[in-house]
């Protein structure tokens, strides 16, 4: 479209109102696990369905246990994804395992689905010397190059234009892969969101923008975040495909992502998916939601639990039983605790790791600073007990 739009001229004065467009929510499964009348179920085999469900359960258990560990002072920080597991596991299941995921921080379900082990989670959470990130970032800032999961960073929405750039590189490489970037409805208020969507549409990039609209950005309810009909309609202004899905409905999330991926990879067109859900837990271990929302509201959403909805569906398919379900939770709880106890014992990374990876090789001034630090630690070893004993066997 250019400035010349006379082919669609009108001659009566009329403003278009923001509320004229209401985007409906795509739903497949009811809470009792039966499909809505007329809803077409996606092609999801038993093996994949169980892989999804098991990843959702493990994510829930990991979140419960690690929050408890944070409360006991065993790790400095934690963020749960409770209530959003159908979104964070469901989208990953719909992708090729080599598609790049660039997430915000509440998407551990996607990592679980791709096979990130409990040890790998714990090493990062405890900042021990086995952490891929070398203990440099706060807990929950996971990353895995072998699982095509970009390392998380705290600044919100910065990954969204990066996803557009990554996907542009994939298009040029012609490898048939796409990038999915996940972010909350709060992050969508950042300028980087606008930059990313506009560039993706103009440059025709195979990227999927997945917004987790969970009602809150810390204490800010979504009606103080935006005045329009959520995030999904924004895509239309950028000339992009868009859909709103029930984020607690695994089949809706899965089906929408499968089709979005097809559009991205086959047509080189970006897609926006807005997954409607609710942040059942606190924002983080540093937050108490009782100060800004009601128990009644939380209970209402707890009754729409995505795990329970998927379980009901699996039971009706006769792919799963209550016994197997109980056993799964028991084993996961046991494994999470055992891994936690093991990984919290490992030491923190060596002092040298403070200066590696700032550049490909440390510049001379930085090496000089490390030598000064070592001298200092040798002088006051009791003040630096985690590194002092490990300076001499370098």
């Amino acid at each position: 479209m250019t400035a010349d739009t006379k082919n669609r001229a009108i001659h009566s004065l009329r403003f278009i109102r923001g509320d004229e467009l209401q985007i409906p929510t795509y739903k497949v499964l009811k809470q009792d696990g039966t499909p809505y009348k007329g809803a077409k179920l996606p092609d999801l085999d038993k093996h994949t369905a169980l892989r999804i469900y098991k990843a959702m359960v493990r994510t829930r258990v990991l979140d419960e246990r690690m929050l408890a560990a944070q409360r006991q002072g065993r790790l400095s920080f934690y963020m749960q994804s409770t209530g959003e597991e159908a979104t964070t596991v469901g989208f990953a299941a719909a992708l090729d395992d080599e598609d790049m995921i660039m997430a915000q921080y509440r998407e551990q379900g996607a990592l679980v689905y791709r096979g990130f082990t409990l040890e790998e989670f714990m090493n990062q959470l405890f900042s021990n010397e086995r952490d891929y990130g070398k203990g440099r970032q706060m807990p929950i800032h996971y990353g895995s190059s072998k699982l095509h999961y970009m390392t998380i960073s705290s600044p919100l929405a910065t990954q969204i234009p990066q996803a557009t750039g990554y996907a542009y590189g994939q298009k040029l490489a012609g490898d048939g892969k796409c990038t999915v970037t996940v972010f909350g409805e709060g992050a969508a208020s950042e300028g980087d969101f606008h930059a990313a969507l506009n560039m993706a549409s103009v440059l025709k990039v195979p990227v999927i923008f997945l917004c987790r609209n969970n009602g809150y950005a810390i204490s800010t309810p979504s009606n103080e975040q935006f005045a329009a009909d959520g995030i999904a309609p924004r895509a239309l202004g950028y000339g992009m495909h868009t859909i709103r899905v029930d984020g607690n409905d695994i089949l809706a999330v899965y089906a929408a992502t499968v089709e979005a991926r097809r559009i991205a990879v086959e047509e080189n067109e970006p897609v926006l998916i807005e997954a409607m859900s609710y942040r059942l837990a606190a924002h983080s271990s540093s937050d108490d939601p009782s100060g800004y929302r009601s128990k009644k509201e939380e209970e209402n959403w707890a009754s729409k639990d995505p795990l329970s909805r998927m379980k009901q569906w699996l039971l009706l398919q006769e792919w799963w039983s209550e016994d197997e379900d109980k056993q799964l939770y028991d084993i996961d709880r046991r494994d999470v605790l055992a891994t936690l106890k093991e990984c919290e014992k490992h030491p923190i990374p060596k002092l040298e790791e403070m200066i590696t990876d700032v550049y490909d090789v440390p510049p001379p001034l930085l090496k000089e600073q490390l030598e000064q630090l070592k001298e200092h630690i040798r002088k006051y070893p009791e003040a630096y007990p985690k590194t002092a004993g490990r300076l001499d066997n370098e």
């Binding site: 960073s153 910065t158 490489a173 930059a195 560039m199 510049p363």
Partner: protein, 325 residues
């Protein structure tokens, strides 16, 4: 060898980099078919196609966010910010993202392929927003390299090195001398080292240090001082970070005096960093206080630009004060 101005040298370096490596991709505002508002990317789209040289929407945070993603994928983006004055919307993507990408991921991911090119500096009646020299803002960010060439030969060799360096590099191009600075440039592919200063002229009484377009004023001041019998050693820093302390230390130990000049404002300018570091390392060799001749601590003015600039006469006066201290 060919005679080129600084812009042609930049264009030639981009051409060589793109021919040499199909992963090199140039983009930014007006960079595509038009070839850039200064014509630094002329003919590159024609030669390498729209996929590898293209216009972006007008959004600096998007250009650098996109470039970070593209670099993390393994491509070699050369992103242009039209004026250094407009790099600030991308400050977050540069400082929090590009600079920390490798470190925070434990080297699982990096944006080492990234180069950001941007015209900087005053002297062109550009007022507040077409004159700034923001190198010091980036100098305090570990993880970035910051490079400034002073002539066409430097521009080509340093830009090729920046594009191929496995770290994100901000390449500030001195737009005042884009066309004015003309010199012989080798036609072949060559690189000049990053992190290394160049002793442009040897001397014995005082060390004069600058970078980019400011080297021109430094050379003019040196000619005035020479008539007074003052022997100046001239150093072009070339790389702001990581900067070549050893070369500067060696020179100051020899001359016993140091003058640093830059276009950017005095307070918080990179001259302060150099001054402090040299004072720590050369305390017993210094015969006069380290002099800094810089822009004033004001926004860059339009009508009073001539008065504002740290020109050759201001540098000349500071040389005499230092030598006569």
């Amino acid at each position: 060898m060919s005679k080129m101005n600084l812009l042609q040298a930049v264009n030639n370096a981009l051409d060589i980099a793109m021919a040499d490596n199909p992963k090199v991709i140039c983009f930014g505002e007006d960079v595509g078919g038009f070839g850039g508002v200064f014509r630094a990317t002329s003919n590159l789209q024609e030669k390498y196609g729209r996929d590898r040289c293209f216009n972006t929407p007008l959004v600096e945070q998007g250009i650098i966010g996109f470039a970070n993603g593209l670099a993390s994928q393994g491509s070699v983006p050369v992103a242009e910010i039209q004026f250094a004055d407009y790099i600030f919307p991308a400050f977050d993507q540069i400082v929090n993202e590009a600079a920390k990408f490798r470190y925070r991921s434990g080297d699982l991911f990096n944006v080492g392929g990234l180069t950001i090119r941007t015209p900087y500096g005053g002297g062109i009646a550009g007022g507040h927003y077409h004159s700034q020299s923001p190198e010091a803002y980036f100098a305090q960010t570990p993880g970035l390299k910051v490079v400034v060439p002073r002539n066409p030969h430097q521009a080509k060799g340093l830009l090729l090195a920046a594009i191929r360096d496995p770290n994100p590099v901000i390449f500030f191009e001195p737009k005042r001398i884009y066309r004015a600075s003309v010199g012989e440039v080798p036609d072949e592919d060559y690189q000049l080292p990053l992190g290394s200063a160049e002793v442009v002229k040897e001397g014995s009484d005082i060390t004069l240090l600058a970078w980019g377009a400011q080297m021109e004023y430094l050379e003019m001041a040196d000619q005035l001082a020479e008539k007074d019998g003052i022997s100046c050693e001239l150093i072009d820093l070339r790389t702001i970070v990581p900067w070549d302390i050893d070369t500067v230390v060696a020179s100051v130990k020899k001359t016993g005096r140091l003058l640093i000049t830059h276009e950017a404002p005095y307070t918080g300018g990179f001259g302060g960093e150099i001054s402090a570091a040299i004072q720590e390392r050369c305390f017993l060799h210094l015969e006069s206080p380290i002099a800094r001749v810089a822009g004033m601590d004001t926004p860059y003015p339009l009508a009073l630009e001539k008065e504002y600039i740290a020109d050759h006469l201001k540098i000349y006066e500071a040389i005499k004060q230092s030598v006569n201290f």
